[in-house]
């Protein structure tokens, strides 16, 4: 055990450090300087993010294989960090104006950071115990965050729904894991992969485990909590759930399916096939009729999860590439959309589609960013979402799933319908009572701008995809 080994977990350690720093800062600063603390924390997180990009931890595993890291995992962690950073920047105004008076701004950071730490450990985990602990670490603080909005009954309701459903899900996953353990006697992923053999019990274990993880990715029929929790939670928590937490979960799901359940490909591929179709349809059909934008984006993110399964179905490097790439793209797209919703909701408290009518005429920039985000989610070129979706479809088609691809593209068309509904409200409609023009604070601007930049650049600029492609084979180890 030496320093170099610890450096493999630099990201987690830095975050823990930051978390403790915030804790100390919270204790020693006066109420007046809490606002500054927020700024400092965000900058601190930005530094952590930056370091993640600068110092690439060496590939390898520590703690006897419980913790692994490699370039792909680090890329994802960096991506998640960027996403969290954008979320923090977008929520700075809300934090300062709503939470500081309630004296719970620092706690927000601490909870969020601990959840991020959990996610980081989760995608680095090398055994089922670590995975389980990290999963809980990533979920439970978010439940607290979901019920953060003390003024709103919905917020508490969201918290309750999240924590109870999550516990049930993890209970089911645990039950599944226990059978897998019983069948192999191993908890490490690599041991398990070697020992697992096809049997009724292991299939049951796989499915239960998959169901528990699907909960986090919001796959149908394990998705029902999504919309309610997304709608009730504060918006930044919603975007965190829909982007960061989902992205990490998809990645680890792909990793586990590819490696641990390699022998079960004939099981999980048809399973994903069915679940993907159901997820896309259900997500889209529900999204069609939503008026509340948070709820709307919730269902849209359910549908997007269905698309991601197409990449996983490929089962190869191309699939891994397309999924990781899509997760990154999706992150920026969703954050662009959520950022605008956040900005408007924060300034005016309006979250319904109807309130957005005529938005372009009063707030053109916000509308444009929203449009970019929605187009990207819908997969309209030349923004990044198009490329992300295209590669997912390519991955699925590469394994011959043409019908599934067709269903997926039809769903993309349905999704376009409701994305266009928002655009219709913003651009086509003229309202007597539009949202008035307002200025955003600098953090919000930065947050929105970086989301927009990501949406624009990620697709057209191919080296990123190439980089993902070049390291994607790391998914297999």
């Amino acid at each position: 055990m030496n320093l170099e080994m610890f450096l493999k977990m630099q990201n987690e350690l830095l975050l823990v450090g930051l978390l403790l720093a915030v804790l100390i800062g919270e204790i020693i600063t006066s109420q007046k300087s809490k606002v500054k603390l927020i700024n400092v924390t965000i900058i601190g997180f930005a530094l952590v993010t930056l370091i993640g990009f600068i110092y690439q931890p060496t590939q390898g595993s520590i703690f006897g294989g419980m913790f692994r890291t490699n370039a792909l995992i680090q890329l994802l962690k960096n991506g998640l960090n960027v996403g969290v950073l954008i979320i923090l920047m977008q929520s700075a105004g809300w934090l300062k104006e709503s939470l500081v008076p309630q004296k719970k701004s620092a706690e927000f950071f601490m909870l969020m950071f601990s959840s991020v730490i959990g996610l980081n450990f989760m995608i680095s985990s090398g055994d089922f115990l670590m995975f389980y602990v990290a999963l809980e670490l990533s979920t439970l603080p978010v439940a607290a965050l979901a019920s953060y909005n003390a003024y709103k009954r919905q917020s508490a309701e969201a918290g309750i729904k999240l924590i109870l459903s999550a516990t049930l899900a993890s209970g089911l996953a645990l039950f599944g894991i226990s059978f897998l353990y019983g069948a192999t006697g191993a908890l490490y992923f690599d041991d398990m992969a070697n020992l697992l053999q096809m049997s009724n019990l292991t299939i049951l274990g796989l499915v239960f485990f998959f169901a528990g993880l699907s909960f986090k990715v919001s796959l149908v029929p394990f998705h029902f909590w999504t919309a309610d929790v997304y709608e009730g939670s504060p918006i930044n928590v919603t975007s965190y759930l829909s982007v960061i937490s989902k992205g990490a979960a998809v990645f680890i799901m792909m990793f586990i399916l590819f490696n641990v359940f390699k022998a079960f490909t004939s099981i999980w591929q048809p399973m994903l096939y069915g679940v993907a179709i159901a997820t896309m349809f259900v997500g889209n059909l529900f999204a069609l009729r939503q008026q509340n934008l948070k709820r709307f984006l919730a269902f849209s993110s359910v549908a997007q999860a269905g698309f991601m399964l197409l990449g996983i179905l490929n089962g190869g490097v191309l699939g891994a590439t397309s999924v990781v790439y899509f997760v990154l793209v999706y992150m920026f797209s969703n954050l662009g959309a959520f950022g605008v919703v956040q900005a408007i909701s924060h300034k005016t408290g309006k979250e319904n589609m109807k309130d957005y009518e005529g938005l372009y005429r009063t707030n053109p920039l916000l509308s444009l960013i929203m449009m970019l985000g929605l187009f990207s989610l819908a997969g309209i070129p030349p923004v990044a979402g198009f490329f992300g979706k295209f590669f997912l479809f390519t991955a699925a088609a590469g394994k011959g799933y043409y019908i599934l691809v067709f269903i997926a593209v039809v769903n993309a068309t349905i999704s376009l319908y409701y994305y266009l509904k928002v655009i219709r409200a913003m651009f086509l409609r003229v309202s007597d009572n539009p949202i008035p023009y307002f200025k955003n604070d600098i953090f919000m601007k930065l947050g929105l701008a970086s989301a927009a930049a990501g949406i624009l650049v990620l697709g057209l600029y191919s080296p990123l995809f190439e980089y993902v492609q070049s390291i994607s084979n790391l998914i297999f180890n």
Binding site: I380, F390, A397, Y402, F406, T413, I423, F465, Q469
Partner: protein, 495 residues
């Protein structure tokens, strides 16, 4: 910067410049300059093309350029042009230019209007020059999406519904298309070196069994935007709701993507599938031709009449493509061009009439020849061109198609062709009906007397469309020879 990439870059620069404009005066001038440059480039392109061919370059595509984009998937920025591309680009640039003139006095959000217009143009240019299926698909969608905003914001009538219907149907078609393109990709190489490049896929013989499934997918995917019956229904309502310039671009250029795509991708890459399926789609396209024309007879909204007429005319394009011979294909391309100019002209005129009368219902109009002679006379000319009068482009195109179609000997093709030919009569009926009701006869309402005469920018827009119609109509030889030359490699695959 190579000569073709400019067609993507120039509009983007225009859009960028438009972002900084403040009002109508500025934005329309910028848009005008931009589209003039594009037009100039397209004229330059044809000379460059002829010069290139004169040097003895006989490759299928000239001015090719290939830049690797997504290396691992072998997605490349592959562009190139042949004679067909060149003409399509000229068509597009002219219609865009005319569209800018026609929108000279656009009222609401001028900057955004011109931006959307030019973005659409970018997509169209890009589509035409693409040799890479991925790129083609990308530009296809780039071209379709601005339509939503253009119709939705600046349209009239049930614009939101129409815009939505149009966008969703076209994107639904691209769903099929995408599946087809991916199929092509994964069958483009037996050993895993997949490619999206059209010319390279053409070197591979895709198994007949695969073509059997891929062809209808790709064909329908493209043909929906070419208003294939029964997927044409997005077009009439879309036209009716769209603002003038958008109708022009829509009918004049956008709908051409369908035929062009069918020709370049479905026919070229899947010849066996084409032969196998042609009978089925011939039936659909003939239905479209006759049905569109017959539907047009009964319409009262000018734009609906023209929309159905487009269904009919573009049905002929698909019909001709499915005839699978050189002459018919030549006719298809000519018809694409001809229809592009004619419908654009029609829509421009309809827009002018609507601006004055605030109605497009033929029953409410009458005797316009008296009050707006210039517009009316051009309308008559456009009508005559549309019904295939010699001297105008429509005649050349239709005759080429019919002669080509008649080269197929069997009774099925014969009957189909003869049914298709009947369209010349039906077209005459609905065109003359409009001319008779709207332009001739006694003046319907007294207030029509105060209609302002055509302005200079309206006239410019009109002439930009009219002149090519007459050029193609009177001196078709050089055009058809260039096209014929370019068709050769494509038809060789078919034989």
């Amino acid at each position: 910067m190579d000569i073709l990439s400019l067609f993507v870059v120039a509009p983007i620069i225009t859009v960028a410049a438009l972002l900084f404009t403040k009002n109508l005066q500025q934005s329309r001038v910028v848009a005008l300059i931009g589209s003039l440059v594009q037009f100039g480039m397209s004229i330059n392109l044809i000379f460059a093309y002829l010069a290139e061919r004169a040097t003895g370059n006989t490759s299928i595509m000239v001015f090719t350029k290939s830049v690797v984009w997504f290396k691992s998937l072998n997605i490349r920025y592959d562009i190139g042009a042949d004679g067909i591309t060149v003409f399509m680009i000229i068509l597009a640039s002219l219609v865009v230019l005319a569209g800018v003139f026609i929108s000279w006095k656009i009222k609401d959000l001028p900057k955004e209007f011109f931006i959307s217009l030019i973005v659409l143009a970018t997509g169209v240019y890009g589509f035409f020059i693409s040799l890479d299926l991925f790129l083609m698909f990308l530009f296809f969608e780039v071209a379709v999406i601005p339509m939503y905003l253009l119709i939705g914001i600046w349209g009239s009538g049930p614009k939101e519904k129409s815009a939505m219907k149009l966008t969703i149907m076209l994107m639904g078609a691209s769903a099929l298309l995408l599946v087809g393109l991916l199929g092509l990709y994964f069958y483009s190489s037996p050993d895993g070196n997949y490619t999206f490049n059209i010319l390279e896929i053409a070197k591979v013989n895709i198994p007949a069994q695969v073509q059997h499934y891929l062809f209808p997918v790709v064909f329908i995917g493209f043909a929906v935007i070419g208003a294939l019956f029964p997927f044409h229904t997005w077009s009439p309502s879309g036209h009716a709701s769209a603002p003038t310039a958008v109708s022009m671009l829509h009918a004049g250029v956008l709908m051409k993507l369908g035929g062009y795509g069918v020709f370049r991708v479905a026919m070229y890459l899947l010849p066996i599938g084409a032969k196998e399926w042609s009978w089925f789609f011939i039936i659909l396209s003939v239905i479209g031709v006759v049905y569109g024309a017959l539907s047009a007879i009964k319409q009262t909204d000018l734009k609906y009449i023209n929309a159905y007429s487009s269904v009919s005319h573009l049905g002929l394009v698909l019909f001709a493509l499915l005839m699978l011979n050189k002459t018919a294909w030549n006719g298809a391309i000519l018809q694409s061009l001809s229809h592009g100019f004619m419908t654009a002209l029609f829509f421009a005129l309809i827009g002018m009439i609507y601006e004055r009368a605030h109605t497009r219902d033929v029953r409410e109009l009458g005797g316009l020849l008296k009050v707006i002679p210039f517009i009316s006379v051009i309308y008559v000319i456009a009508g005559l061109a549309s019904l295939g009068l010699p001297g105008f482009s429509g005649f050349v195109a239709e005759m080429t198609i019919f002669v080509g179609a008649f080269q197929n000997v069997d009774i099925f093709h014969r009957v189909a062709t003869i049914l298709g030919v009947t369209v010349i009569v039906i077209t005459a009926v609905y065109i003359l009906r409009v001319v008779g009701m709207m332009l001739m006869g006694p003046l319907k309402k007294e207030e029509y007397r105060d209609f302002p005469k055509a302005t200079w920018y309206e006239k410019t827009g009109i002439f930009l469309m009219l002149i090519p119609i007459i050029i193609i109509g009177t001196t078709p030889l050089w055009i058809s020879d260039i096209i014929m030359e370019s068709i050769k490699p494509f038809i060789e695959r078919m034989l």
